[in-house]
Symmetry: C2
Subunit: 429 residues, 2 copies
């Protein structure tokens, strides 16, 4: 590959059906010089400078500043899709509109939700957190006292363990990517390391678990191994700079990096230190993985390595043959994403996508890939590999291992069919 | 320092007036074990497990999911402070409430604003961007066509060049830190490299500058060196995952990493490629730095190395003697922050603060430092050093170099006086 080819039309095909070398998206902007020759070009010639009319909004003074800004009314369609279980108002989930977003930070207003009995209207001045059980000194914290403790910050994803489950339907659901995989979001979280609080309470030698409980009316609770509690668990107080939103646990939530989202108990009110797990409803009846032989896997905490192409994705329309960027997100509960591979021919051939800095542990990673669509049918897939070497499985491989009755930890490869007419749809491939 | 001292009360004093070793905040959570012995502890003993009453919000079903979430009503006081110039509605600025925030991402609703004639109500379907002037092919882009180009993402700060100017008043203003330094914010920006568009237009050999113009009714414009335009300039379309907010240039803005904020033209409608700078009002009358001899520095694009302690800060109250965390932000237009030093004795002695990962170029960096306040008067300062070796100057040093009539690039060290009664105030030290 010579320099001159780099700066011209020479982005060579690297895998079947039009995938081009990722260098177009590599970090140094300089590598993008020459992209103009590639065929992304959709601008129209501006015949004369005067062709740019002065629109009416340039002719009048604009709107004033505000205390707290909002999206444009033209973006009002960018919303979480949500549903409640029949007979309830607040038991259900809402999904991050992945197909509308770019980068890695999820705006807090669009962070996915999963509530077991709605969002409690907590008065932060009256909220308390108690740590008790197998400790030398049971302790009670209010929000003000907790905020005096040392704070840490991390940009990390949170994923509902049921994310991706829609693809277990016999026929592939023809819905936007967000309604299949939108139970994952990523924020800049700040809070108090739980280890500091447990250290103060004085954990007894026989303590091996904690049980965390929320102040919602489901009293949502989960058992967490002490090793995780002492490692990287956080009592989160801030999300993307500001205090937690009510739908994310205001005024405080547990945050367990890389673990299934339901364990990061929102509206945290109680941590009981125990010798054994509590065997709550949410770790026996629910949030276990039913196997083909009728037994179930329990305490499958860590979320697997996963990726999904968000553009193009189901329901979107191609704009005719030509050069496109494939864009998507990858993540793993195990640490950093090492590599993402993309296929345009249904997995026959793969090529490496460009990963956008920063590559942070237990965070979303944005990947991008140039693709010259020739107008024929194509099946787009992405496959993530994490720093432990774990590889995102195909749907068939996942089903071979777990059957088809498990409800959680669906990290299978997503396939999008691009039809000759430009329609993009969900396909099991 | 032995291991046993690390895990106990042994966080030694490292500079005058109670500054302790930063290891309390270093990345590995494990280093926080032992913090319990230090005196952060403000929890109350929970005499019995039954002491935790069940509040009324736990007894009733909570609120349902929503399409787009909002902060808690209990956080309604977390707002941008804003002002308009007399006789205008939209010419002025609003400031990010730094003293209320943590981490490095600024929520988009709290990103600072600086408008020259308000926020235009742009119909994105009718907005156009024209590139013309010294180019082979003048081009016109609509939003849809622009979004087809290769995208890049970066977490970067934006700072108004006038930030910090309030501290030029003869007496130190007794206002929150946000009303002195709140014209800086940090977001995850995604957009099209300007180099790609200029490459497509075909820049003529004699072209050395571009002039960027907004669609606001001030037609805000600035000249930008071609080298910057081809290096890391971006046409930003997304901020923190979603489309730009109207107050940040919806549907598209120029983004010039590390340069004074006014040059990152919002509501971008026109880029004219030129041989010379345009010498617009905003780079002759305004946004120049008046020197003591009556001459002015022009085209001082890059924002200097700066830091500010946001907690404790002016107007806040200490809660009595004891252990505190000092928290603040540092940034530089030159790249990465290398080090932040903190003083509790008005600059007589300094110690190194802990920097929170990730340490990204041209981004905010959060720093933290443990401090044992003995209840006596103290003067807190922070001093940032960037990867080029540039050191944040004292107020006296800045004034010795630039006089006191310059309006921009105020990156002097901020001093906070902690009085014996716990009141924190602004002081020139």
């Amino acid at each position: 590959m010579t320099g001159s080819r780099c700066s011209g039309r020479g982005f060579e095909q690297v895998a079947g059906n039009g995938l081009l070398h990722r260098r177009l998206f590599l970090t140094k902007t300089a590598s993008l010089a020459g992209a103009a020759g590639l065929g992304f070009m959709t601008a129209r010639p501006a015949a004369a400078q005067a062709q740019l009319d002065v629109p009416e909004w340039t002719k009048v003074p604009g709107a004033p500043m505000s205390g707290y800004g909002s999206p444009s009314p033209h973006e009002a369609h960018v919303q979480r899709a949500f549903f409640s279980r029949p007979g309830t108002v607040g038991s259900g989930a809402s999904q991050t509109p992945l197909e509308q977003l770019e980068g890695i930070i999820t705006p807090s207003g669009l962070h996915f939700e999963r509530h077991h009995n709605g969002i409690p209207a907590i008065d932060p001045g009256r909220h308390r957190l108690v740590i008790h059980g197998l400790v030398a000194r049971p302790l009670m914290f209010d929000l003000e006292s907790l905020a005096r403790y040392p704070l840490i910050s991390r940009i990390q994803f949170l994923e509902c363990s049921g994310n991706g489950r829609a693809n277990d339907a016999p026929e592939p659901p023809q819905v936007p990517v967000s309604q299949i995989h939108g139970l994952v979001s990523c924020s800049d979280w700040t809070g108090v390391p739980l280890s500091v609080l447990l250290d103060e309470a004085g954990v007894e030698p026989e303590a091996r678990w904690i049980v965390a409980e929320g102040a919602d009316s489901a009293a949502m609770n989960r058992s967490v191994p002490m090793a995780k509690a002492l490692d990287d668990a956080m009592i989160a107080l801030y999300q993307n700079g500001e205090r937690l939103r009510p739908d994310n646990g205001y005024p405080m939530r547990l945050f367990l990096p890389g673990y299934e989202g339901n364990m990061s108990i929102k509206w945290l009110r109680r941590i009981e230190v125990t010798a054994e797990p509590m065997m709550t409803r949410e770790e026996t009846s629910k949030y276990t993985d039913l196997l083909p032989d009728g037994r179930a896997l329990q305490f499958t905490f860590q979320m697997g390595v996963k990726s999904v192409i968000t553009s193009p994705s189901g329901g979107l329309e191609m704009q005719g043959p030509g050069l496109y960027q494939i864009s998507g997100i990858a993540w793993t509960g195990a640490g950093r994403i090492r590599r993402v591979e993309v296929s345009a021919d249904g997995g026959q051939t793969w090529a490496e996508a460009a990963l956008t800095d920063p590559l942070l542990p237990i965070s979303l990673t944005r990947f991008r890939m140039p693709w010259r669509w020739d107008g024929g049918p194509a099946v787009l897939q992405s496959r993530a590999i994490d720093e432990t070497g774990a590889v995102q499985p195909t749907r068939a491989a996942l089903h071979a291992r777990l059957g088809t009755r498990f409800d959680y930890h669906h990290n299978a490869i997503q396939s999008w069919l691009v039809a000759a007419d430009g329609a993009v749809s969900n396909i099991y491939a």
